[in-house]
Every structure is written in structure tokens, then in C-alpha cells.
């Protein structure tokens, strides 16, 4: 082709459409929200930056004028680069913070000069990197909404910027047809929406399928905001006070397997740290035995065997970062599944892991006992050293022992005495979070003899000291009450205010029994259906996104395989509702045929007339096929009549027959009148002439 140039006339391209600019600004706002969720941008900075994003709408022209002066533009770039460098080296807290500041700076700069499709593209890519930066620590469910919004907006923006780019390119080449895609915005909008939804579905599918081959044992390390006190190895009296009014959900426990309704499991609580030493002010963990336990199978730790004293339940625990290494579970733990190399177990059955700042997900199998009963930890009898350890008291108990003896006078043994003391405290004393001191007395004596009100720590400490003063070994346990039941996710929502302390007392013949002297009703606030629904969503987010692991993938694959195996006999015709196989195939074929016919009929019926495919009548198609066998084919631009004239000239024998067929075809094609029954025989005769010359 020596000289080829388009004859069509080029049309001017379109400018950046307003919807595209709006979507681009929203995309940037979405990225900024993601940074805020990751605590990389504070609330004030977020508000300010969003304001700048909005203001950038009106700065495009000014930026274009400034940009036209190369000196001004270059100076601005140098200043911005210097500020970013200073920020990265000295001002920013971490390198990630510095890069985020630089990223925001770049986006704002580009947003101010948003004039061409290329700018839109660059801003979109930079916004995506805001999501990448946020993904390091934005683990809340709100990130899900941000991702969904980003996919919807991003898909739409990319699609429209591509259309605008092509229109811009069209300024330099021939454009065929006057319809710009932007003029068909409804169709394109629908297509963009469909593309966004398809992207979401595909992203979800890929997310669950991509193998998790990472080896991070505790993958969810995050920067934790203020950690919660109360679950360290030293607990001051009243330390829970600051958290017992906090409704933050700190733990979610899904009872995966039990014989009955989890809501009716009696005395269900989540045992954590166990404290055995009291110095008059605080409870601490004494120098007991603490051993590291290695996994018996990948991710599995065996801690005991079932004794048949209670129901065995399987708990799936999602623990928010608490600032403690303690693992919480219903006592007595038989098995623990956790992705870590080793855990620590002390001689009071307290479990802990190494990473204290990680959000944890673990599964525990426990054997829960009856009311106020625990199975022995180390046999029915304590050795002398442990007995001394669990009877330790600071100084002489004095008034407290007198009170204990008074309450337990006439009791039938240590167990009865322990129960009497617990009942006495829960009956005669009141629960309060107002823990202000009014005397200079010992805190416990002030609680027992002056204030007569306190929180769970005071009750537990008082009972433990009273028991010890009577020679009954006792220890204080820190953990959580079972929490609110979430009916949407069917799990227990444990809040910070559910933090609790109780007592375990050792009774010969019964082992360690649980005593809870605190007269505290279960918290009932925050039970609105909406909050429960959102929390269930949050749990699913943690369960199926944040904590989705290779193990989950394998289990899902095995489940699918089991279902497939279960269906196989049915498909083979051996099931209880077996259908003979040939019948099944026939039934399927008939159904498929019916669906196909209906779809075809429906499609033709609703197809616009202009778009309906042109159908060549069968008789004319046969005539063309017969002539094609003789080497006579219509040229691309040749009409039926012209072709007929050519056939008359080149193959005179077929000319008359084709002439008659062409006449009927033209009437059929252009006048919409099919051949009459009388003409059919005539057409057949003509066709015979063409087929057998």
C-alpha cells in the first residue's frame, strides 16, 4: 500500500468530563480514609487533606497557568522534594509515615493539575498505593468497605479514562461515526458497574483461592494503640476499674462444637492468668514452674486428656491485641490449635504465647465441669511446697481471719467453708466501680469493714485471703465472663467490661474448685441488633479475610471433596431417590433444549428490528451454494440482481432459473412476502436446474 490516507474527517476530542473528575476525587478520598483507618493519618489531618482534595477542584486552571511557567513549576517540585526529604529523615515517626506523607503530597499535586486522562491514571495508581500502605495495619472491617468502594470507583475511573484517552487520540486520526462513547453514558455506566461488580467477584474468588504459602507464624502483627492493663503478671487491686466500663469487644468466642446450645452452658467463663502471690496491695505470679510446650502436630498442642467429668466443647477464639501473652479459654483445656512453634504453660494451667501485640486466632478444646467444680490440676493432694505457696499471706490476717472464722463457724469441711465465704461476700457486699479510698487502712480491710463495696478484684482478693487465713489453699484467676451472645454470628462477644477475677480453692477430694463471690450481673448494655450485626460482620471479616490461611483452604477443599463424594452415589443412581441414568440424561437434554428454545425465542422477540440479523431465505441460500460449486459467487458489494446478470452472462443455462429465484428472493427480502405455496414447487424446479445443470 503505497499511499494510504483516511478519507474520513477527524472530529475534535472531548475534554475531561466532570463525572470522571468527580470519581477521581472520590477515589483519592477513599485512599485517604484507608490511611486514616490504618492510623497513618489522624482525624485532623484527614479532615484537612480531604479539604485540600475538594479545593483541588478549583485549582486546575491556576495550576495549569503556573505549570506553563517552567521556572515556577520546577521551583515547586524542588521545594516539595526538600520538604518530603526532611519529613522522611527527621519529622516522620517511621519510614512508612514518611512515605505516606510523600504519597499524599504527590497525589495532591497531581490532583491540582488534573487536566488530561494521563493525570487521572497517575492519580488512580497513587491512590492504590495508599491502600497498599494502609494494608499494613488497617485490619478493621471498615477496610472492607474501603476496598469495595475503591474497586467500584477505580474500575469506573479506569474505564472512563480509557474511553477519554481514545477520544483524545482520535483528534489525530479519523473517527468513524459521530457517536462518542461518552455520549452513550448510560450504556457505558452500566458496563462500568458490571465491570466493577465482576472485579469484586473475581477478586473475592482469587483471594480465597491463591495459596497461602507464607510462613509467618503470627501474621497479624500490628501497631497497637493503648494496651489494656489487668492481664499482666501483676494486678493491683482495682486495676480492672478502668476497663470495666469499656464496651470495646476484645474477644469473640465461637463455640464450634458442643452437645447443646452454647448459651446454656453453666458457669462458662474464659480463664486467663492465675495469680498466687499477694503482697497486700497487688496479686502477682509467684516463682512457679513454667515450661515451654512444643507442638505435637503442626499447630497443635496437647495439654490433657478428657476425664468424662463434663461436656467437651470446641471454641474458636479471636482475641484482639490485649498487651498480654495470656491465652483465654474455658477451663480445663485439653488441646490448643495455634499457628506458633511453642507455647508456655505454668503449673496453674495458665497458657501464654510469645507475641503479645498480635491479634490471635486459636482453637481450644476444653472439658467444662459442673457448677463450682473443677477437676484437679495436680491430683487431689497438694505437695507441701505448693500448699505453702497457696497459703501465703502478707503479715498476720488479724481481723480478716476473725471475720472468716465467724462466717464459717459450724461448717462441715473446707468445701462448705469456702462456699459459705463466697455466699457471704456476694450477699453482704455490693459491687461498685467507685473505688475511691476513704481511709488509710489496708485496702482489703477497708473493703471488708468500711466501704463494703468494690469491684471483682476486691471480692476475689478478699475471698482468697479469707480462705488462706483458714488454711484453705486458694489463688486468684483473671479472665473474662462469657459476654453477650451474638445471634447473627452465633458466638460470644466478650467486651473489656467483661474482664473479671474469681477464685480457685483447693479442697482435698475435689481438687481445685471455682468460686465467684462477685455479686455482678452480666452486663446487658450494647445489645442493639445493629451493633450485633456489625460485630458479626467484623468477625467474618477476621475469620475469612484477615485470618484466612492455608489450613482453611485445605479444609475447604476437603469439604468440597466430601460433598462431591457424597453426591457421587446419587449421581450414579444408587441413592435413595435414584433416577435411572438414561432418564436423567434425557430429562437434562429436554430441559436444556427447552431453555435454549425459550432463550432464542425471547431473544428474537425483544431484539430491536434494526439490529435483527438479516436472514437469507433457505431457497436462496441453496441457490447460492449450488452456484458456488460451479465457481460463481457474489462479490462483496454485488447486489442479488447484479449477480443474477453476471450469471446470465457467464452461465446462460442457469440464468433463467436464477432470475426467477432472485425475483422471489427480492420480494421476500425487501417486501417481507414469503413465497406462496404455489411458488414453492416452481422454486424447487429452478433449484434442481441449478444443482444439476
Amino acid at each position: 500500500m503505497a499511499d494510504a490516507r483516511p478519507l474520513a474527517v477527524a472530529v475534535p476530542g472531548a475534554s475531561l468530563p466532570v463525572p470522571l473528575r468527580v470519581a477521581t476525587h472520590l477515589l483519592v478520598a477513599t485512599g485517604l480514609v484507608a490511611l486514616h483507618l490504618a492510623d497513618l493519618v489522624g482525624p485532623v489531618a484527614l479532615a484537612g487533606t480531604l479539604g485540600l482534595v475538594a479545593a483541588a477542584w478549583w485549582t486546575t486552571d491556576a495550576a495549569a497557568r503556573l505549570g506553563a511557567r517552567r521556572a515556577v513549576g520546577g521551583t515547586l517540585v524542588v521545594i516539595a522534594g526538600a520538604v518530603a526529604l526532611v519529613d522522611l529523615l527527621w519529622l516522620a515517626g517511621t519510614a512508612l509515615d514518611g512515605f505516606v506523607h510523600l504519597l499524599v503530597l504527590l497525589i495532591l499535586a497531581r490532583l491540582c493539575a488534573l487536566r488530561a486522562p494521563r493525570d487521572v491514571r497517575v492519580v488512580s495508581y497513587l491512590s492504590f498505593f495508599m491502600l497498599v500502605a494502609a494494608s499494613a495495619s488497617a485490619l478493621g472491617v471498615a477496610f472492607l468497605f474501603v476496598v469495595v468502594a475503591f474497586v467500584l470507583l477505580g474500575t469506573w475511573v479506569l474505564l472512563f479514562q480509557q474511553v477519554v484517552t481514545e477520544v483524545e487520540r482520535g483528534r489525530h486520526r479519523a473517527v468513524v461515526g459521530s457517536e462518542s462513547p461518552m455520549a452513550q453514558s448510560r450504556g457505558l455506566m452500566a458496563l462500568g458497574l458490571a465491570a466493577a461488580l465482576a472485579s469484586l467477584v473475581a477478586a473475592a474468588a482469587l483471594f480465597f483461592v491463591i495459596p497461602r504459602v507464607g510462613q509467618a507464624a503470627l501474621p497479624l502483627r500490628m501497631r497497637v494503640a493503648p494496651l489494656v492493663t489487668g492481664f499482666t503478671d501483676r494486678v493491683e487491686l482495682g486495676a480492672y476499674g478502668q476497663v470495666e466500663a469499656d464496651a470495646t469487644v476484645i474477644m469473640r468466642v465461637h463455640i464450634a462444637s458442643t452437645t447443646g446450645d452454647p448459651r446454656f452452658i453453666p458457669d462458662l467463663r474464659w480463664r486467663g492468668i492465675v495469680l498466687d502471690h499477694f503482697d497486700g496491695q497487688a496479686w502477682t505470679v509467684g516463682p512457679g514452674r513454667r515450661v515451654a510446650l512444643r507442638q505435637s502436630a503442626p499447630g497443635e498442642f496437647r495439654l490433657g486428656a478428657a476425664r468424662g467429668t463434663g461436656a467437651v466443647i470446641v471454641q474458636e477464639v479471636y482475641l484482639e491485641p490485649l498487651g498480654t501473652d495470656v491465652l483465654f479459654a474455658a477451663p480445663r483445656v485439653l488441646r490448643l490449635d495455634l499457628h506458633t512453634d511453642r507455647i508456655a504453660v505454668d503449673d496453674m494451667d495458665s497458657l501464654s504465647v510469645v507475641a503479645s501485640a498480635a491479634r490471635l486466632h486459636y482453637t481450644v478444646v476444653s472439658e467444662v465441669g459442673g457448677a463450682r467444680r473443677e477437676t484437679p490440676a495436680g491430683g487431689d493432694r497438694l505437695n507441701p511446697a505448693d500448699r505453702v505457696r497457696f497459703l501465703q499471706l502478707p503479715g498476720r490476717p488479724g481481723r480478716i481471719r476473725d471475720l472468716a472464722q465467724e462466717v464459717t463457724a459450724g461448717s462441715r469441711g473446707p468445701r462448705d467453708a469456702a462456699l459459705r465465704l463466697s455466699d457471704h461476700l456476694s450477699r453482704e457486699y455490693q459491687y461498685t466501680l467507685n473505688l475511691g479510698r476513704s481511709t488509710t487502712e489496708d485496702p482489703l480491710e477497708e473493703f471488708l469493714f468500711v466501704r463494703r463495696a468494690g469491684n471483682c478484684e476486691y471480692f476475689a482478693a478478699a475471698l482468697a485471703v479469707m480462705l488462706r487465713s483458714l488454711g484453705i489453699p486458694a489463688r486468684v484467676v483473671g479472665g473474662f465472663q462469657r459476654g453477650d451472645w451474638n445471634e447473627y454470628g452465633r458466638y460470644f462477644m466478650v467486651r473489656l467490661r467483661d474482664a473479671h477475677a474469681w477464685v480457685e480453692a483447693h479442697v482435698e477430694g475435689a481438687g481445685w474448685i471455682t468460686l465467684d463471690p462477685t455479686p455482678r450481673a452480666l452486663a446487658d448494655a450494647g445489645r442493639s441488633p445493629l451493633s450485633h450485626y456489625l460485630d458479626a460482620l467484623r468477625l467474618r471479616w477476621y475469620r475469612y479475610v484477615i485470618n484466612w490461611s492455608l489450613r482453611d483452604q485445605i479444609e475447604t477443599a476437603l469439604t468440597i471433596r466430601q460433598h462431591a463424594v457424597a453426591w457421587k452415589p446419587w449421581m450414579a443412581g444408587a441413592g435413595p431417590w435414584s433416577v435411572p441414568r438414561p432418564s436423567l440424561v434425557l430429562l437434562g437434554a429436554v430441559a436444556a433444549g427447552a431453555v435454549l428454545t425459550a432463550a432464542t425465542w425471547w431473544g428474537r422477540r425483544w431484539l430491536p428490528a434494526a439490529n435483527r440479523p438479516e436472514r437469507v431465505p433457505r431457497f436462496y441460500a441453496r441457490a447460492l451454494a449450488a452456484l458456488a460449486r460451479r465457481g460463481l459467487r457474489p462479490a462483496p458489494a454485488e447486489t442479488a440482481r447484479e449477480f443474477c446478470h453476471r450469471v446470465r452472462r457467464d452461465a446462460p443455462g442457469a440464468g433463467a432459473a436464477l432470475g426467477r429465484i432472485t425475483a422471489v428472493y427480492e420480494r421476500c427480502r425487501f417486501a417481507g412476502r414469503p413465497p406462496a405455496p404455489a411458488e414453492t414447487a416452481e422454486l424447487d424446479a429452478c433449484l434442481r436446474i441449478l444443482i444439476r445443470p
Partner: protein, 321 residues
């Protein structure tokens, strides 16, 4: 139905996206952060959706070539292609027809092509020389929907065409050159100044011969047929081997083609003879095509033609070197 094979190549943005997806994947494996897996999946999903939508755009697009009946060397000819969206429902967006021309790149942008719609694109093509030529072809390209990948169809419409030698106007008295005595005008269609009859317009007719009054009356283009100027048929004889000077060969073949067209359209019977070529005498459009085809495909070095006894036709000798 014609289903061209398609190839797909990432654009510059596409390469960046793939690079980012791989980087995120590595980071996700390294950190075990599922949110990085999520973002990596998002990018891969965009790639997937991009492939599906671009395939949807390309699917059902059919190209039909449009070529002139005759192409002459050095004379611009209008060729074209008709692109049809044969899909039932879906519109094709941002389709580009690229002409694979060795010269400067040229392309047509079809912003939208609704289901069942058709767009015709045309361009000029000037064949450089006579003979068989293969057209450069056209391919359909789209970067829809996200500009990440460029999907390209197989080259189409790269058919072989036959280009006739260049035909130039002949002087006012060509018969003098042929040694024909002027005078008596035969009652045949020809190129004299006397009108012979009226007939329907045919492609290739001189627009100056359109009879506008009859055209208006019949609502169809009607041309005048003039009486022939000649009474004797012509034999155009190529003289020489044609191998010595290619330029002279081409010039001679062009002269022969011009004479043949002139005499044939004047109503005379024309015979072509020469080394390696022999087209018996004949008249009409089909015969004109036969003569032009023989000249288009003429190769020097053919067997020497045998002198024939003088017949009723006059002989016109054309030197081809």
C-alpha cells in the same frame, strides 16, 4: 462465521500493573498479610475483567473488504472495509482499525459500534506498478476497557489484487497513429460526436456523457452512447523483447493499455499480440478486462510471436524495448 485469532499484549500501563501485582504477591507471601493478598487479587481481577470485556468487544466484529473492480498503476483507487458488530446485544467500544501500511501509520477510530450496526471506512490506495499485489491488510485493535492490554485481531483483507498498467488519455486522432483512414462513420457505438442511443449508466462511463434530461425523467442515471469513429478493428502488437529497458517496457505496456481502452470504448474490436502474449480480437467490457489482464501480467522474455497474414484489422505497433 469468520472468527479471527486474537493476540494480546500489555500496554505500558499494563506492564506496570502486572509488575505491581507480582510485587504485592511477593510482599504478601513474605509477610503473610492477607490484606496484601486481597489487593493483589484485586489487580489480578482487573486483569481478568479486562480480558473478558476486551474479548466481548472484539467478538462478533466482522470485516468485509471493499475493493474497486479495476485498479490502474499510479492512479488512486478507493478501497475500504465495512466493520459490522454481529453481536446480538452488546455494543463494542473504542475499536480501532489499523491499516498495516508501510508508509505513515493510519488508523480509524470507531468509538462505538452498537449491536448489529455497521460502519464503512474508506481510504485511498495508489498502486505503484502493474501486476499482482497484495494489499497490506487491516487489523482490529482495542485497548478497551482499562487500557492495560492491547488486543489485536489477525490481519485481514490482505488479499491479492491485479493492477492494470497505467492508462493515459490518447490524443485527438489516435486512428491516424494506427494508420486508419478517417471518414465514414459506422453505425456502432463509439466515441464520435454523433449520438447513437441512450442507455443506463454503468461504472466507468464518462460522467460527461450523462444525459441529465433523460436521467430526470427515468429517475436513473442515463448516458448517451455515441457512434463509433472507426470501421476497422485494431491489432495492437508489442514490438521488442522488453528485457533491455524496464522503463521502456512499462511505458510501452501503458501505451498499449491506453490504446486498447481507447479503441474498445470506441467500439472497435481489439486484438493483442506480441512476444509471449496473444489475446484474440474481441469487443466489450469483458474483452477490455482480458486485454488489460494480459498486459498487467506481461513478463518480458516470452516466445517470439509468429507473424500472421494481414487481416482486415489495422495493426498498431507499440515498442516495448
Amino acid at each position: 462465521m469468520f472468527r479471527p485469532r486474537r493476540t494480546i499484549r500489555p500496554t505500558r500501563d499494563g506492564w506496570w500493573m502486572l509488575f505491581a501485582a507480582v510485587g504485592l504477591g511477593v510482599a504478601a507471601i513474605n509477610t503473610g498479610n492477607n490484606l496484601l493478598y486481597l489487593l493483589c487479587s484485586m489487580l489480578l481481577a482487573l486483569v481478568l475483567v479486562s480480558g473478558i470485556l476486551s474479548e466481548q468487544t472484539m467478538r462478533g466484529l466482522q470485516l468485509e473488504g471493499l475493493r474497486p473492480e479495476e485498479m490502474f498503476a499510479g492512479r488512486p483507487a478507493v478501497v475500504g472495509a465495512s466493520v459490522v458488530n454481529a453481536k446480538r446485544w452488546l455494543t463494542s467500544y473504542s475499536v480501532v482499525l489499523e491499516m498495516l501500511d508501510p508508509g505513515p501509520p493510519s488508523s480509524f477510530h470507531v468509538p462505538t459500534l452498537a449491536a448489529g450496526a455497521r460502519r464503512l471506512v474508506t481510504w485511498e490506495h495508489v498502486p505503484p506498478s502493474r501486476g499482482r499485489h497484495r494489499l497490506s491488510g487491516v487489523r482490529v485493535v482495542t485497548r478497551f476497557p482499562f487500557g492495560l492490554f492491547s488486543k489485536v485481531s489477525r490481519v485481514q483483507l490482505d488479499d491479492e489484487v491485479l493492477v492494470f498498467p497505467a492508462v493515459r488519455p490518447i490524443g485527438p486522432h489516435p486512428l491516424g497513429r494506427a494508420g486508419e483512414a478517417e471518414g465514414a462513420t459506422a453505425r456502432r457505438r463509439g466515441r464520435s460526436h454523433e449520438m447513437h442511443s441512450l442507455r443506463e449508466y454503468r461504472q466507468g462511463d464518462d460522467e460527461r456523457l450523462i444525459h441529465w434530461r433523460s436521467t430526470a425523467r427515468a429517475q436513473a442515471l442515463t448516458v448517451r452512447e455515441m457512434e463509433a469513429e472507426t470501421t476497422r478493428d485494431v491489432c495492437i502488437r508489442l514490438v521488442g523483447s522488453g528485457g533491455a529497458d524496464p522503463e521502456k517496457l512499462e511505458r510501452g505496456l501503458s501505451d498499449a493499455a491506453s490504446l486498447a481502452v481507447h479503441f474498445l470504448r470506441a467500439g472497435a474490436a481489439v486484438e493483442l499480440a506480441g512476444p509471449g502474449v496473444c489475446v484474440p480480437g474481441g469487443r466489450g467490457r469483458e474483452h477490455e478486462r482480458r486485454v488489460l489482464t494480459a498486459l498487467a501480467l506481461y513478463r518480458s522474455g516470452g516466445a517470439e510471436d509468429r507473424p500472421r497474414p494481414p487481416g482486415p484489422s489495422r495493426e498498431v505497433r507499440v515498442e516495448i524495448g
